[in-house]
């Protein structure tokens, strides 16, 4: 996913700009750590069926709530959950679920948001006014609340949670893209394009879109982290992934009361998994922003 968008960018933004960004990125240690985490996550997600020791949904009730390696249990490295399912396998498969939810939700959000943002910023006037008032309304609601409302309309389930999160992300993206579009719109090369009589859609496609793309890419990376967190929150509330799907948030929710009973591992490891993956996307996103955004780069 990441690589793909970067390639697209490469096509449209001059080579030197990309090269420069990449060099800046390489200097940023935390961004590289973030990138490493993301690559590992993607690897784990893709090859979950090969590297996980057991099936994530195979239950063995008589072997439930067993501690893992710290108690000498190397069969279930991270222990087992309340149904005797192997926690490590569930976390590995959970990466697949969480990652795909994060990415797909953000793609939905980016698509909707950029569309609204670009048209709003480029055409301005009444259309801009209407679209921005709509996003204002969506902004008035906390994003997780909005997601809950949308999920309760659409129904429970992972695919609906993705759509819900995507929709809640679109207004933020629309705002960012809109302001960027307005800036680009007033530059001289757009004036020039207009002057030689290029049609509006062509200007949008060839001149505006490539120039706002860098903002979109940065926003995508940063949003994936929070989208994973939101998906976990929905799962925690029982509105996202449905049992027996291994999803980190749902795993956390189902096992939180075992902490009082002394079975700390059941809730701790899914929590750590969420933490690490969100951290990875945020670190990388931050680094990417610093690297791509020319205004920020100058300050460095």
């Amino acid at each position: 996913m990441e690589e793909e968008t970067l390639e697209n960018e490469e096509l449209v933004i001059s080579e030197s700009f990309f090269g420069e960004s990449f060099r800046a990125l390489r200097k940023n240690k935390s961004a590289l750590i973030g990138l490493a985490i993301i690559i590992i996550l993607i690897f784990v997600a893709i090859f979950a069926h090969l590297i996980s020791p057991y099936s994530p949904i195979k239950q063995d009730l008589y072997n439930n709530l067993k501690p893992g390696f710290w108690a000498g249990n190397f069969k279930n490295f991270l222990g087992t959950d309340e149904f005797g399912r192997d926690l490590l396998s569930r976390i590995i498969y959970g990466a697949r679920v969480s990652l795909s939810v994060g990415v797909i939700a953000v793609i939905i959000g980016i698509f909707l948001g950029s569309l609204i943002g670009i048209f709003s910023g480029f055409y301005g006037g009444t259309l801009d006014n209407i679209l921005m008032r709509i996003t204002d309304i969506m902004f008035a609601l906390p994003s997780i609340l909005l997601a809950i409302v949308i999920v309760s309309v659409l129904g429970r389930g992972l695919s609906k949670a993705m759509i819900a999160i995507g929709i809640t992300y679109s207004p933020q993206i629309a705002r960012v893209v809109r302001s960027e579009t307005i800036m680009v719109k007033n530059t001289e090369f757009i004036e020039a394009a207009k002057a030689i009589g290029a049609p509006k859609l062509r200007i949008l496609r060839v001149h505006v879109l490539p120039n706002v793309l860098s903002v979109i890419i940065v926003y995508t990376t940063l949003s994936i982290g929070s989208a994973i967190l939101d998906a976990a929150a929905l799962g925690f509330l029982g509105l996202g992934a449905q049992p027996p799907t291994a999803e980190w948030g749902a795993m956390l929710a189902n096992s939180n009361h075992y902490i009082t009973g002394g079975y700390w591992w059941v809730a701790t490891f899914p929590g750590i998994a969420i933490l690490i993956s969100v951290l990875g996307f945020n670190l990388f996103g931050d680094g990417l922003r610093d690297a791509i955004d020319p205004r920020l780069r100058k300050k460095m």
Binding site: I57, K58, Q59, L61, Y62, N64, L65, E82, F83, G84, G238, Q242, P243, P244, N254, N256, H257, Y258, I259, T260, G261, G262, Y263
Partner: protein, 528 residues
């Protein structure tokens, strides 16, 4: 200017700090009890669920009641009664000088009003309720009449062996007629009875507050205020109890019990419950949730073979229950111990599915309650375990859940293919299980107690016979036959009979467990 404003704010805050410290005359004694779910309604005749009943136990009273902690009947709002020789005509002599919380005198009119509104479709208040229980347990009552101000005559259309036991049920608690007239269709949220506690407020989904009835006719309650707080999560209930936010909780998490036992400030009250937790498979072809496979007895038996009940009881109930093989618990008379339970045998389950024409299984839904129930502490967990067991024989079940009130309504409508539910006895008679939960009379779409919509004419015939029979030994025989038929037809997977477990702070004394799962707080004291 800004400084003055700041000073004023600080001054106001300081004053308010001391305001709270003024000594109060006497602190009212308050008990907060954490419940797993909110009441659905507070009209005793219009509910079927324990969460509503346990609140109303303290507000309403009936003509007779159970002696605390037993299922023995003793006179209560009626001081005595006479039965005609044919068992069809019952005359109750009412207690005098009793008043409802709103000041209305308790008399024959109130009793007739309370019963006739449920029975008579022409009654002006009949339209305000569904009166499920009247259909389950009181359909034999032909008429309730006033003889004089303090005498009531109830005529039965047919002899009904458990009649006097059923008269202790919440359904026939007496309600204030003036209050019903005042609130009309909203009366279910403004209950007025004669009990030891008065209703104060109900914040839906959060808490119900009751206060001591100062004018109670009998022994007055020892606490001033009783608050039922809704805390759906078992570990949160436990934490609230540990922190002293509440003084009692129901349905602790089985995993926490060993910890609770070690806590010197907490006391566990426990006894075998007269209940059953089950998985009903919808066989009613006229219901919206009916799925073809469940019409086949081989599929239902396969599901019985596929579920590892023992593992569920051992590892999820953590020994707070026994495996169920019959719809009625072994603590109740009439239990058929000769029945051979379906053992856990996935291979046999697969064979049966193949025979029935579903070698690759099928897709279905498994409904699970959203709240802890006395017969099932964590329905969602049990549903997940069952889901995995079914998956192992090829049946793909999606877990479906609604909020508690909706869940009950939808299962009564038969919108589920498979649903978890359970039952706690209202009176100690197999009739309360086998008639209410498995008879064709109770399988009416929209107000079903029999949510498997299992309608076997043979079962119905035996149930009817037993209701008329007064010889206990013969009734036992009839009920044993019913259990055998139900076992063979397998409309349910009987899962477990759970122990009734409540946890109180050691400061709380005098709470008595009822086999029927009722909560009566009038005898409770709190030491400081």
């Amino acid at each position: 200017m800004k400084r003055i404003l700041l000073l004023t704010v600080v001054a106001v805050l300081l004053v308010s700090l001391f305001y709270g410290c003024t000594p109060k005359a006497s602190q009212p004694v308050t008990l907060v009890f954490a419940k797993a779910g909110d009441a659905v309604e507070l009209d005793p005749a219009d509910v079927t669920d324990g969460e509503s009943v346990t609140v109303m136990n303290n507000i309403f009273e009936g003509l007779v009641r159970y002696k605390p902690g037993t299922t023995e009947i003793e006179p209560w709002l009626a001081t005595s009664w006479d039965v005609s020789s044919d068992g069809l005509s019952w005359t109750f002599h009412l207690r005098q000088g009793v008043k409802f919380h709103d000041g209305t005198p308790f008399n024959a009119d109130a009793v007739v009003f309370s019963y006739e509104r449920q029975r008579d479709p022409e009654h002006p208040f009949h339209k305000y309720g569904k009166w499920e229980y009247w259909g389950y347990c009181f359909s034999e009552i032909a008429k309730t009449e006033k003889v004089d101000d303090y005498t009531v005559k109830i005529t039965l259309s047919r002899p009904f062996a458990p009649f006097i036991s059923t008269m202790a049920m919440f359904t026939v608690n007496v309600v204030s007629p003036t209050n019903c007239e005042k609130w009309g269709d909203q009366w279910f949220a403004h209950p007025v009875g004669t009990g030891p506690f008065k209703f104060v407020e109900w914040v839906k989904g959060d808490h119900i507050t009751l206060e001591k009835n100062q004018d109670y006719w009998g022994e007055k309650a020892k606490i001033d205020k009783l608050i039922f707080k809704v805390v759906p999560d078992a570990s949160q209930r436990y934490l609230a109890l540990q922190k002293g936010e509440v003084q009692g909780i129901e349905f602790p998490n089985p995993d926490d019990l060993s910890k609770i036992e070690q806590d010197p400030n907490l006391a566990i009250l426990s006894q075998p419950g007269v209940n059953v937790g089950y998985l009903a498979m919808n066989v009613g072809e006229d219901t919206p949730g009916f799925q073809k496979p469940f019409g086949d007895v081989r599929v239902r038996q396969a599901i019985n073979y596929a579920i590892n009940k023992k593992a569920i009881v051992d590892q999820l109930y953590k020994g707070t229950a026994v495996v169920a093989k019959n719809p009625i618990p072994p603590t109740l008379w009439g239990y058929n111990d000769a029945i051979q339970d379906y053992e856990y045998n996935p291979t046999k389950a697969k064979e049966l599915l193949k025979e029935a024409g579903y070698p690759d299984g099928f897709k279905t839904q498994l409904w699970a309650m959203p709240v802890s129930r006395p017969y099932m502490f964590d329905p969602q967990k049990i549903a997940t375990a069952i889901q995995a067991d079914l998956k192992a024989v090829g049946i793909d079940a999606e877990i479906v859940s609604y909020d508690w009130g909706t869940y009950l309504q939808k299962t009564e409508n038969g919108e589920h293919p498979m649903a978890l539910l359970g039952w706690t006895a209202d009176y100690a008679d197999p009739d309360n299980f086998l008639y209410v939960l498995l008879d064709s009379d109770s399988a009416t779409v929209g107000s079903a107690g029999n949510i498997a919509f299992y309608r076997n004419p043979e079962v119905h015939k035996l149930n009817m016979e037993s209701q008329k029979e007064t010889d206990q030994a013969k009734r036992i025989e009839l009920y044993k036959q019913v259990q055998q038929i139900v076992h063979d037809d397998a409309p349910w997977v009987t899962l477990a009979h759970a122990k009734q477990i409540l946890v109180f702070s050691k400061k709380v004394q005098g709470f008595v467990l009822y086999p029927t799962g009722d909560y009566h707080f009038e005898s409770v004291t709190i030491s400081q």
